[in-house]
Subunit: 323 residues, 2 copies
């Protein structure tokens, strides 16, 4: 079984979700278009909906219940993407933002709000209060993660723990609850729901760490952005944190100067080169591997079947992905 | 009975709500402080919680149920205030926003998101799915209102209908559901719930129209901002729309030139002076009056009592307020 096979097997149900996704933003289609967010573009992996559907197979699978969590989860993911772009966008226009640019940003902000709120109205199709609690708490935690990330921009004194907590909130949590809610609304056993949530969490951690590694060593064309974008905007990720602790004195000094002067005393390219050649890369890869091993271990405890096989394949894919 | 008497009678229950409000953002107190939002400042009128409490008196009043809608409603109101400030703030710093300023804006955006989401986790204390549906739909509509407002900045060709729809979404809806939910969670009769929602809607419309009039004719010191702020930032409100339709040819031409050049060909002060002396002011005041009359008429149909008397007083206060 290959990754495509998973998508192939879920094809018609992913179709149901895609349809519901377009419907959910269609009434505002003009707005979304105009704020140029390209939200429903073909490139989306729809990872969260796939997690929901696979987790649903551990209980009584019903696409017409599962879609009421799959769609909100994907919308929440989209809303965070929109908000991530909001102020960045303004920055690329350097200084004097035009009135128009200012509005675009505000429109994008409220569009993000709108999508967040839409996600919750859609989830309201399900009567289980647990679903609402889990979803709204996840958004709360994700916002905390985002705020923490901003506060830790250019901060060279952060612990590994701080980094892990941040990526948990930023990424892993939404994957965890995708598995959890898929199983929950399908009436899977409580212990299965818990294990699946754990699987999603571990895979999510590995996914984000891999993302942070690829930002340094990935192919620019495949990434669709220049290498080291994170560090360029001040986002200090695992390879950097490790080098700041375990790297040579020269490496540490250079990175620290870069961070403390917010990139004015040392060029970003130079520091990115340092991190690329540091052991921080291998260390981060090893941490990602460790989270994947944990995900695999959790899977072992779950009942055998096609869904379990698919989850295993996804974990393997994340371990081996290069873009 | 005077307005203070209403607050006085509700004092201890407003205290319960205040306490819950601080608790709800306390865990992030440092963050909120740092993003300098002054959210819980004493000045807040807590109108939405007051509406909840008064509406609750039409059913089985229980502050420990009512607080789970009063607090979320006030938080939603706060979140919109935070987001309203986000990009405006950047604009006052004219051009080149510092990296720090950029972050502050992002932090404010995510703080708003955080408060939105918190409001929904708090409402999750109540199991009625109706509450969640009403709240999340209201946020959806409010976002639409905000986006519409931004899209209609400097737009001289908008109908009255368009203005009314916008302020309904932006302001009246949240007041309407404050009354609705207060009555709903208290188990008031369905027809009472509907009437109270309608009262809140009418009062909310009058409130916003009055706000828009005061922006032109209010005392700058009492308003805490320069007169005509709305028009200065391109927000075209009822007095302006009326003058654009019914004013003299000179008035219309000047306003149109101001709008079409986004304030570069004609000074804001000049146009504000024109609107002040136009009949748009009296027309808007008359519209506000009409909405208040409708609110009073709805009240008439409700059972007599202290709550009804308080609602009547609030409507009268809105009719007569000068700041």
């Amino acid at each position: 079984m290959k990754l495509q096979d998973i998508y192939h097997a879920l094809q018609s149900d992913i179709g149901v979700i895609e349809e519901e996704l377009s419907r959910s933003v269609q009434s505002e289609h003009r707005l979304l278009n105009e704020s140029s967010l390209h939200l429903l573009e073909a490139g989306g992996k729809r990872m969260r909906p796939v997690f929901v559907l696979l987790a649903g197979q551990f209980g009584e699978y019903d696409i017409h219940r599962l879609k009421w969590v799959a769609v909100p989860l994907e919308l929440i993911h989209m809303a965070t993407l929109v908000h991530d772009d909001v102020i960045d966008d303004a920055a690329t226009r350097r200084g004097r933002p035009t009135v128009k640019a200012k509005w675009d940003n505000r429109v994008a902000m409220y569009t993000g709000d709108y999508i967040f709120a839409r996600s919750l109205t859609i989830a309201a199709q399900l009567r289980e209060p647990e679903v609402h609690r889990v979803l709204s708490r996840a958004i709360v935690e994700m916002c905390r993660g985002e705020i923490e990330q901003i506060r830790d921009f250019y901060n060279g004194d952060q612990s590994l723990l701080r980094y892990f907590r941040r990526i948990k909130r930023k990424t892993a949590l939404l994957m965890a609850i995708s598995c959890q809610l898929g199983a929950l609304v399908s009436g899977a056993d409580a212990w299965v729901v818990r294990k699946l949530r754990l699987y999603g969490y571990f895979v999510g951690m590995a996914f984000q760490i891999t993302d942070d590694v690829l930002d340094f060593i990935g192919d620019e064309q495949q990434l669709g952005k220049p290498a080291g974008s994170d560090l360029r905007q001040g986002n200090v990720t695992l390879p950097v944190i490790h080098t700041l602790r375990e790297g040579s004195e020269t490496q540490q000094t250079m990175i620290r100067r870069y961070l403390s002067t917010e990139g004015t005393a040392v060029s970003a390219d130079e520091v990115i080169g340092i991190v690329r050649q540091s052991e921080g890369i291998a260390f981060a890869q090893q941490m990602a591997r460790r989270y994947l091993d944990k995900a695999m271990a959790v899977l072992e405890e779950l009942p055998d079947g096609k869904a379990k096989e698919s989850f295993r394949l996804i974990a393997e894919f994340i371990g081996g992905r290069t873009y």
